[in-house]
Amino acid sequence: MADGAAMLPPLKAYQDALDNGEIIYQTCGDCERVAFYPRLVCPECGSTNVVYKPSAGKGEVYTRTVVHARGRDPYNVVLIDMDEGFRIMSTVEDAPNDDVRIGMRVELKTVYPVEEVDAKAGRLPKHVFRPQGDG
């Protein structure tokens, strides 16, 4: 990692980027492995020469489920394979749950501000996706 950058805690870097409406990931300066979530070491080669990069926010639904919970409308949870080569969990809005299918192209819609702070997981800003528009 570049001078000083190593001291930026990866989870905080991720959360700060989300606060600015951006999803970040990392590439390894030594082995070029793409990594998400951000870490202090490359999970492939162990190098600390890891570089933060902003994602263009586009990808494809890898898998999905629709959760039926008492007291609220059913909602979808998806894993998205981002075009840069990493996978994230998110939710697809602006489409009926039944239309959120594996293989569907999606793009980052927005980031909702922190609603909750989990005792173990910390601050939880939340990105959401929508079906990818034309162009």
């Binding site: 989870l11 991720y14 959360q15 998400f36 979530y37 890898y62 898998t63 999905r64 489920t65 629709v66 959760v67 039926h68 919970a69 059913p74 909602y75 949870v77 894993l79 996978r87 994230i88 969990m89 998110s90 939710t91 594996i102 293989g103 609603e115 909750e116 989990d118 173990k120 997981a121 910390g122 601050r123 939880l124 800003p125 939340k126």
Partner: protein
């Protein structure tokens, strides 16, 4: 490999605690005590003989230490390894290795949970990922639902094939007096039950029960003089690849591929040599993926493989003869019950559900969200 515990450790006692709904006020430690007493008694051993202790729990972080205090055991070898529900199969591997090394002489593996009666709902020791928690997946149902959805997409596995697992497992449970759910079950009932996390309905999910178990392990020379016909550990393996589901490269392939390969290599056997399978099942997709990962069928062939009654009573690949986590008992960490049933099958003690002439059994499980895996191959004296 030099140092492998193959043929160096025997299961000489197994027992469940009371199962099902044990009632308010009973603790997870009480259930472990019950199971220990029963397992040592059937083995013909005393508590004072135990010098190796193994336990995992979602209630007690220092699991073996906590239960040792309650039971009055001061082990010289202790292990609270927690890799999810398959921990106890990993413990069996560790116990065999410790026995082979002379680090202990009588190993006791313990588990107890009052998940049903204890109040407070489903208990888990999961650390939620900050990269997943905001999206509201139900842990762990939604993770396995996404695995099943991917399996259906990738290989054409059908909703009905998933349901087949629940139906055939229930058919086994109907022959086990200890099973929690013993009513007949149909594919239609599973498919049409209330949706929980698509594609899973309520009946794709395991039962939620109380329960505990104990397994006593020692070396073959010691086992010879005990009450039960010894069941030998022929092979064991472990692996873990990820913790959280978004880190799993292919949601249809678990680390069981690796734990299974290691176990079969140590045993010098192949899936074709196995007479009965006890496979960790919390959701219907489990046995399908396990059978693929262990090599009983090709990757993606699990759906058709389990269909037509193949894994049920009378089928040529019997799976979860006790009724499994789906219908018999699932207190949150099911792994120890795979060892208990496999052992009883190899002793010929399973009554109506006994697999005639069973010589080799596999006990296999995963923990977390397809995160960790552990496999044990067990056999009768003739197989060593």
């Amino acid at each position: 490999m030099d140092g492998d515990p193959r043929g160096k450790a025997c299961i000489v006692g197994v027992a469940e605690s009371d199962l099902g709904a044990v009632g308010a006020g009973v603790t997870a430690l009480d259930l472990q005590a019950q199971a220990m007493v029963r397992a040592l008694d059937e083995a013909g051993l005393r508590k004072a003989d135990v010098d190796g202790l193994f336990s995992a729990s979602v209630y007690y972080q220092m699991a073996s230490v906590e239960v040792a205090e309650y039971l009055g055991i001061r082990p010289r070898y202790t292990d609270s390894t927690t890799v999810g529900g398959c921990s106890f199969i990993a413990h069996l591997h560790h116990a065999a290795t410790a026995l082979r090394a002379g680090a202990c002489d009588v190993a006791l593996i313990l588990y107890g949970s009052t998940q049903r009666s204890g109040g407070g709902g489903f208990t888990t020791n999961a650390n939620p990922s900050p990269y997943e928690l905001p999206y509201g997946p139900r842990m762990p149902i939604s993770m396995y639902a996404m695995s099943a959805a991917r399996h259906m997409h990738q290989y054409g596995t059908t909703r009905e094939q998933l349901a087949e697992v629940a139906v055939q497992t229930r058919a086994w449970a109907r022959m086990n007096p200890k099973a929690f759910m013993r009513d007949p079950l149909t594919v239609e009932e599973v498919v049409n039950a209330r949706a929980i996390s698509e594609p899973f309905t309520l009946l794709d999910c395991c039962v939620v029960t109380d329960g505990g178990g104990a397994v006593v392990v020692t070396r073959p020379d010691r086992a010879r003089d005990l009450r039960q016909a010894p069941v030998h550990l022929l092979g064991a393996g472990e692996a873990h690849w990820h913790r959280h589901i978004h880190q799993m490269p292919d949601l249809t392939v678990s680390a069981g591929v690796e734990s299974g390969r290691r176990a079969f290599e140590m045993a010098g056997l192949t899936p074709g040599d196995v007479d009965v399978c006890e496979l960790y099942d919390a959701f219907t997709v489990f046995p399908i993926v396990h059978l693929e990962d262990l090599g009983f069928c090709g990757k993606g062939e699990g759906g058709p493989f389990v269909s037509g009654g193949r894994i049920g009573p009378g089928g040529d690949c019997p799976v979860n003869t006790n009724g499994g986590g789906m219908s018999y008992c699932h207190p949150g960490m099911y792994g120890i019950f795979t060892i208990i049933e496999a052992t009883r099958q190899l002793r010929g003690q399973c009554g109506d559900r006994q697999i005639e002439g069973a010589e080799v059994a596999v006990a296999h499980g995963v923990g977390g969200v397809w995160s960790a895996a552990a496999t044990a191959i067990l056999g009768t004296a003739a197989t060593v």
